[in-house]
Subunit: 323 residues, 2 copies
């Protein structure tokens, strides 16, 4: 091998993933054994890793542009849930073949979202193998200010951003009318709530992102915090499009257990309610109170006052995911 | 889902990958949406990502303990090549089935190496899918002191740690005698040269780790530095076991192009030679000078003074890797 005859691997990386950058804190980006990064004094680093695998996390028909978007979006959603400001990402990409057109579309989707959130790609690895993308994202928060999932208290209000259930409906729908197009886009292009998460720092007492389904992720947060909740099925934020597509009954089930929403679920102490109301005007998504934390650790959903039994949730090890 | 009936995914993670840690700088480890980490003032962060995929980077027969070791080792090797001190790792693990015995052995191999290098697992993602492991490692260096691959100069000596070629021979051998056992272990359990890399900070002018083959990686370093080299085939560090197994001629080819060595290749300016000699006594591996950087950008290997044509190198997109 000579510099004039690079391996296809390096050729692909160079063509699509190497960009000059003046992004904050990037001392050395793509192209060496590792990236060198510099965080400001007084900050802590927030790091998350999520992998998406074809047939498990996205269907084979997913456009490469949407795969690139998703690979980063699911990770940005984790930073959002900590209240962190995105900085840097690394990407491990495995491809069944070195198809430049596919990689270019993937990179376009990836960088469109990266640019929208000021996150720089600083390193990675491209290999031959089954189709998957593993991303690690790095954000920063002022020291001590990350929003954990374990710090909700009895009496805190429970909120969710946006509408849940759209994504799973979009994955299942036929895509033949306007409603379905809206839902399909909600599945293919999840919008991580980065600005909302950052704004909620200092206001939310606990926060988690909704990836496995609202009920499952909310239960994680409540369990980690040692509290339970009283929750209202009738308060669930359901989009008109979801109700039109699935009907009201199925819409509620999707909203509770569907997964792939990448909304934020968080708790707010009573004394922070005024601050939350001020913030919510600046949010470009709905903000809905769905319940209240309780000392009793049971997680009770009620419909018109009566206990509602939540159907089984999504598991990565159930075949349900492998459609 | 209730806290008493966790999803298999979380069950696996909790059982094998969650450990209490008092490791330096870990504010919040596994178990939230992201880890929260704190680097000392005056340091820069060094970040690398490498993924290993079954059938591409390790054969299907590889014991899970060795897969866990390898997933971390190939990444620590990148930190070593920057002169960084390892701190934190994240792991994205994809498994065809939720087999606790397999995961336990994987985790044992992973943590044995992690503990040896004081690196804490701070986050990750476990999914169902084809067998692969994607690791991102984080290390630190004093600001401005990372060793790049682009800073070698005309006249610098070119060195390599350990013996190259063993790993590919170990992958190909039958495993029926002591030589073969030695070589197989060199393939299954690569030893990242972390201590050597750190010690070479301030002594080496440029450094790279040898993962794709000595000639290919050396050529990357020279090319990035804008120099060439005169190199001596007769000086190649070949282990007795490699020569006994492959013969002297094939041994040299393996050493130049085999890959999977995870040794360090680096350059040293003449004025740092005395410092290097002092250091080498403390290294637990051979240290061999194989050539000298030249202003002319050609990369010339010579055998008994005559130009030697290096066979084609390894590419992740060649079917050769998929045995």
């Amino acid at each position: 091998m000579s510099p004039d005859n690079p391996l296809p691997e390096f050729d692909l990386i160079n063509r699509f993933f190497t960009r000059t950058t003046d992004d904050k804190g990037v001392v050395l980006g793509v192209g060496d054994d590792a990236a060198v990064l510099s965080a400001e004094p007084g900050t802590e680093l927030v790091v998350a890793t999520d992998v998406i695998v074809e047939q498990i996390h996205f269907p084979a028909y997913t456009p490469p542009h949407a795969v690139g978007h998703r690979a980063l979006a699911v990770n940005l959603s984790d930073l959002a849930a900590m209240g962190a400001e995105p900085r840097w990402a690394t990407l491990a990409l495995s491809l069944p073949e070195a198809d430049p057109a596919w990689v270019e579309q993937f990179a376009t989707g990836f960088f469109a979202l990266a640019d929208a959130h000021n996150i720089a790609l600083v390193g990675g690895d491209t290999v031959a193998g089954p189709l998957f993308a593993s991303v690690t994202v790095h954000g920063v928060v002022p020291a001590g200010e990350a929003v954990l999932r374990s710090t909700a208290s009895d009496g805190d209000g429970i909120y969710v951003t946006g509408c849940t259930g759209d994504a799973v409906a979009g994955r299942l729908c036929e895509g033949t009318n306007d409603n379905d197009h809206y839902l399909a886009a909600r599945f293919l292009y999840p919008a991580p709530r980065v600005a909302q998460g950052r704004a909620l720092r200092g206001v939310a007492s606990a926060m988690i992102d909704v990836s496995d389904g609202l009920h499952a992720d909310l239960t994680h947060m409540l369990s980690a915090s040692g509290v339970g909740a009283e929750l209202d099925i009738n308060a669930l934020p359901l989009s008109e499009e979801l109700i039109a597509s699935a009907g009201e009954r199925e819409a509620a089930t999707f909203a509770l257990t569907g997964g792939d929403d990448y909304e934020l679920c968080f708790t707010v102490p009573p004394e922070q309610e005024p601050a939350l109301q001020s913030l919510s005007d600046s949010f470009d998504c709905p903000l809905t109170r769905i319940g209240t934390c309780t000392e009793d650790r049971a997680v009770n959903w009620r419909e018109d006052g009566k206990l509602f039994a939540v159907p089984a949730g999504y598991s990565h090890f159930e075949t349900e995911g492998a459609d």
